[in-house]
Amino acid sequence: MLKIYKSAYEFIRRHGEQTYPHECCGVLLGQMNGDGRVVTSAVPCGNTRTDSPQNRYHIDPKELVRIQREGRERNQDILGFYHSHPDHPACWSSTDLAEAHWFGCSYVITSVEKGKAVLTNSFLLDGTGEDDKHLDEEPIQIAL
């Protein structure tokens, strides 16, 4: 299960609406503790796939380095990432799986239809390596 603060949940859905018809992307920060994994904030990132932003996203690693550093200063870890699927289901694609490498992290996808966020789903990347990795749907619990 992925617990996510309501403010972060609404933020990522709004971000998808703002970038429509292009895919949005960003980082989920939070803590892992006795409560499990709790996302407390979402950090928007630029999509470097300016060649095909309607169906592709890529986050500049330099942004991740900065976000990771700033997160550490606030005792926050990277728990996952989010992106949107314009006019497409909130389900991982073969591209999403091929490009997923952060094992144990959540990949949150929001479907945005005609500019409105519809469904937000989360998938946990599991496996031992590139040969057996898989994305498993996990429930989202919104924490107020």
Binding site: Y57, I59, K62, Q68, H88
Partner: protein, 91 residues
Amino acid sequence: MKILIPTPLRQYSNKQSAVELKAATVGEALSGLVTQHPDLRRQLYTEEGKLRAFVNVYLNDEDVRYLQKEATRVRDSDTIAIVPSIAGGRA
């Protein structure tokens, strides 16, 4: 110098989020890291011993691909960040 371990790799580094070690180059530092934590080798390197394409290595704020790659010299005060790439898309 310090190597920052990203969340997905901490299961292979005894849950440590950072590892301190001595090295003269980025290559030596990474080699020292996988010597200390052998389970990390498969995650970072191919069977041919090359860094996996999706593994980005930053020395402070610079991608080592644009420096001298693994031959980039490091100082005691430097920080190396290992950052797996993030990408995807609906199609």
